[in-house]
């Protein structure tokens, strides 16, 4: 039996009179990569935020790493995100005043690692993503691609069950975007983490094992992609 790290059932998200997500069912298995694509306003980011426990659905249920998010309060959901979720945002969103090493180590410290262990793990993660030599630099002192690779390291260093990536290559050129996606999927696969990518970019979507097309808050089609790693 395939273990599901993420399961959503009949999820409805409303913002006032606007329905952002209209009854979505979704399951994501461990190590699986899923791309959610669709035009702007189709509800893909809202769905991702809902799956990650950042917003509470108006109705429906979401299970993340086996935990039903419904009864969880903000602190419990935050604790679950610390331990089981990694994020990669469009603009990396690293803490600007911390070095790349400290940014990555932060994710380890949040799950209770000692400072020494966190730094050690962060260094290894940065090395794996090819930016170990830049560990002491701050995000503002490295390129966009390097910054995004550090963000990938931060998302995976604490061995989460799911990584959510919101337009992870949106701010990068094609070459850097391809490289970052390669490294994200490869590192996630090594860590056994599922990856949920929200993107406009068909090339990025094609890299995932499954592609969900959203329109008007609904999943209108699912495509299994052959070229996925």
């Amino acid at each position: 039996m395939i273990s599901q790290v993420l399961a959503a059932s009949d999820v409805l998200v409303r913002f006032g009179a606007t329905t952002a997500v209209a009854g979505v069912d979704l399951e994501v298995a461990a190590s699986e990569s899923v791309a959610i694509v669709g035009p702007s306003g189709s509800g893909k980011s809202s769905l991702m935020h809902c799956l990650a426990g950042l917003i509470v659905p108006t109705s429906g249920t979401v299970h993340l790493a086996g935990v039903d998010l419904g009864p969880c309060g903000p602190e419990q959901r935050a604790a679950l995100r610390r331990s089981s979720v990694g994020f990669v945002f469009q603009f990396a969103d690293l803490v600007p005043e911390l070095s790349l090493l400290d940014n990555v180590a932060l994710a380890c410290e949040l799950i209770g690692s000692s400072r020494r262990e966190a730094v050690q793990d962060a260094g290894s993660a940065l090395d794996r993503l090819g930016v170990g030599s830049l560990a002491a630099r701050r995000p503002g002192q490295v390129s966009g691609g390097e910054r995004q690779r550090a963000a990938v390291a931060r998302a995976l260093v604490h061995r989460p069950k799911v990584v959510f990536a919101d337009e992870p290559t949106g701010a990068l050129d094609t070459e850097n975007g391809t490289r970052v996606m390669d490294q994200l999927l490869e590192a996630a696969s090594e860590a056994g983490a599922a990856v949920v990518v929200v993107t406009h970019d068909p090339a990025v979507a094609r890299r995932c094992a499954r592609r969900l097309e959203m329109r008007d808050g609904r999943i209108e089609g699912t495509v299994a992609v052959a070229s996925a790693p």
Partner: protein
């Protein structure tokens, strides 16, 4: 803007009001004449104090058809008095005060002739003008001491205008940054640059005008309670704070015009701001050097003073103060950065590490936020040191009041009566000494001296001393012969001995030969009598002297007018400190909230990856408290050292303004508590997703 305008009007009005008071005081002062041919009447001002309040009486004799001072329609005739309404009230409440105003009260002095509604003032007509001064009218300046409007203006300007300017600059910066996007949008649709700048100028100008109108309204609102309550005894007439249409128009034009200019300047295209990454051109060592040197010089002054020596070096003090202030300006960024780095490196708490890192990363913008509070702290220390100095000048030791009475024209028996008014009295006469420093001969018996003297040798009747203290030696050499001529013309020789009477300089001066003997009033003509009395006894002494001869003037080292002036200065300084403190704190809070809001997307990211809310809150609070504590600690140290140095250099008085240091620390603590509150309130956005999307 409205608050700044109202504060600015207070700053503008209060010194003007003080100047107006000086003008009234000058306009009613007696214009004395020397050639008798120009004499129109005789008049003289006599001051007494009623409790802590000065009562000025102008005695007038002779032709009363002459020119009248402001506030009167005619001069009082013999046996008549015109009094201020406040004095009339006090005379009703305290009958003994009426004894200071002989004659019948014929009317009151109108506000035009009074400096403030609380003033105790009277014009008294007397029949005998023998002891009064020939006068030609009113409007002389001789006996009028200014109220120190210059010092008041400096106090208020420093206290209020510096923080107000900081507040306006911060507000304008935040406002222009918010509007910058709109101007960029206009440029992106090809609106010509002059039009963009014109729009920006008009926007800011109109905002300024609205702020100006609100400020005038706010000032009008606070004018009434200020007028009725006064500030620390300093009161004024309602008309003194009247905003005329001209003042209102000028204020609005000034603010609107300044707003337009600032708006146009702020809308100029400029390169990407990378201020937080810009490093100072000065090497790190040089940035610290002025501060270290300044602190070292001021500390030296303090240490030397505490060791008992005089540091009579204005250049050393001025250089130390200058270096310390400039050094603090240069060193504030490194100080804030160092505090952040230290906490980031050493704290085991994630929240403090995040806050410390943030502080170390962006110290310049933090310092801009803190500049008003830092300036206010230093200004506060300096102003209160100046006030401490003023207090020492008016006489801090209020139980040791020196009451000086000139008795040259008194009969022998009256002089003896004046001497007998208190047990601690000394009589002075002048010798015919022809030395480089004229010697004064003073008589005081051992009983009188025992209460004030601290000689190393016991006082014996007939002993002769040279007066000195540990810092100032006697001006008279040993074995110098001074002569006094008795009433009979017989010379008495006094030879200055080696022995010195210590700690009597304040009473006798260093050119005095002191003879421990009852004053021989019958033999020697006495020039003046000095009583050492308690503050509470002064009024009693004045009344007793008045009973002996009403024309006798009792001068004391504590002059009621000086005390009143000091208290006005103190009250104004406090008002300025409160207004300035409010403005500086408001600036700090507005800018801090803006900084925290600006960082909400980062905070939202941290919240998204699961950083606990408590950690985020600690981080936000640390970002406010760390720079605040570091900067204010440095400012308090520098301000306190400058204040201490100011009081120490060249002075004999012990002056350690620890109270001011505590007040400074109190201000800092208040700011820190406010920062805590702000940090706790504006800590973590509830809606994480909105801020993530905004990014």
């Amino acid at each position: 803007m409205a608050i700044a305008v109202a504060a600015g009007l207070v700053v503008a009005f209060v010194p003007a009001m003080a100047t107006h008071r000086d003008e009234v005081a000058s306009a009613r002062s007696v214009r004395q004449v020397i050639p008798p041919s120009e004499e129109r009447f005789r008049a003289q001002a006599f001051d007494v104090s009623v409790g802590d309040r000065p009562l000025r009486r102008i005695f007038i004799a002779g032709d009363t058809s002459g020119p009248v001072p402001p506030g009167l329609e005619a001069l009082p005739g013999p046996g008549e008095a015109f009094v201020s309404p406040e004095l009339l009230q006090v005379m009703d409440d305290e009958p003994f005060v009426a004894s200071f105003v002989p004659g019948q009260v014929a009317g009151t002095v109108s506000p035009a002739g009074l400096t403030d509604p609380n003033e105790l003032f009277a014009y008294v007509g007397v029949a005998d003008g023998a002891r009064l001064t020939p006068a030609s009218g009113f409007g002389g300046r001789g006996d009028v001491e200014g109220s120190g409007s210059g010092l008041i203006a400096i106090q208020l300007s420093l206290f209020v205008l510096v923080p107000a300017t900081g507040f306006l600059v911060v507000s304008a910066t935040l406002s222009s940054r918010a509007r910058g996007r709109r101007w960029d949008a206009m440029r992106s649709v090809s609106v010509p640059e002059p039009v963009v700048r014109h729009v920006a100028g008009i926007e800011t100008g109109v905002t300024g005008l609205v702020g100006g109108v609100l400020g005038l309204a706010l000032f009008t609102l606070v004018r009434r309670p200020l007028t009725s309550g006064g500030i620390g005894g300093l009161r004024w007439f309602p008309d003194d704070l009247h905003v005329t249409p001209t003042i209102a128009a000028c204020t609005l034009v000034l603010i609107g015009g300044t707003g337009m200019v600032l708006g146009r300047r702020a809308s100029r295209l400029r390169p990407v701001d990378s201020l937080h990454q810009r490093e100072s051109r000065l090497p790190a060592g040089l940035r610290w050097l002025p501060l270290v040197c300044g602190i070292a010089m001021l500390t030296t002054i303090g240490v030397v003073h505490r060791a008992g020596s005089i540091v009579n070096s204005a250049p050393l003090f001025l250089a130390g103060a200058f270096l310390a202030v400039v050094g603090l300006g240069l060193g504030l960024v490194p100080i804030v950065r160092a505090s952040g780095s230290m906490v980031a490196a050493r704290s085991h708490r994630l929240g403090w590490r995040l806050g410390g890192s943030r502080t170390a990363y962006e110290p310049r913008s933090v310092v801009r936020v803190l500049a008003g509070l830092v300036a206010l702290t230093i200004i506060g220390h300096v102003i209160f040191a100046v006030l401490t100095d003023l207090r020492l000048v008016v006489g801090d030791q209020r139980d040791r009041v020196l009451a000086d009475i000139t008795v040259t024209d008194l009969t022998t028996s009256d002089t003896a009566s004046v001497l007998a008014l208190s047990p601690r009295a000394a009589a002075f006469t002048h010798s015919t000494d022809r030395g480089p420093t004229g010697a004064t001969i003073a008589y005081a018996d051992c009983t009188a001296l025992a209460t004030v003297i601290a000689t190393d040798t016991p006082c014996r009747a007939g002993d002769v001393y040279r007066v000195a203290n540990r810092t100032f030696p006697s001006d008279l050499p040993v074995q110098r012969t001074c002569e006094i001529e008795t009433r009979d013309g017989v010379p008495i020789s006094v030879t200055t001995p080696e022995v010195e009477a210590i700690d009597l300089v304040g009473m006798f001066g260093t050119s005095t030969v002191l003879i421990a003997s009852p004053p021989p009033t019958a033999q020697v003509p006495i020039d003046r009598v000095e009583h050492l009395v308690g503050r509470a006894e002064l009024l009693e002494l004045q009344a007793a002297v008045d009973a002996i001869d009403p024309s006798l003037q009792v001068d004391s080292n504590i002059e009621p007018e000086q005390i009143e002036r000091y208290e006005h200065h103190l009250a104004i300084a406090r008002l300025g400190a409160i207004l300035g403190g409010l403005l500086a704190t408001l600036t700090f809070l507005v800018a801090s909230v803006d900084r925290l809001l600006e960082r909400r997307s980062h905070t939202a990211t941290l919240a998204a990856i699961g950083v606990p809310r408590r950690t985020l809150r600690t981080s936000q609070i640390a970002q406010l408290i760390l720079p605040l504590a570091a900067a204010l600690a440095a400012a308090n140290l520098v301000g306190w050292l400058i204040a201490q140095g100011y009081l120490a250099y060249g002075r004999l008085v012990p002056g350690s303004p620890t109270g001011q240091l505590l007040q400074g620390i109190g201000l800092s603590a208040t700011s820190i508590v406010l920062a805590l509150a702000v940090g706790a309130i504006v800590s973590v956005p509830k809606d994480i997703v909105t801020h993530l999307r905004a990014e």
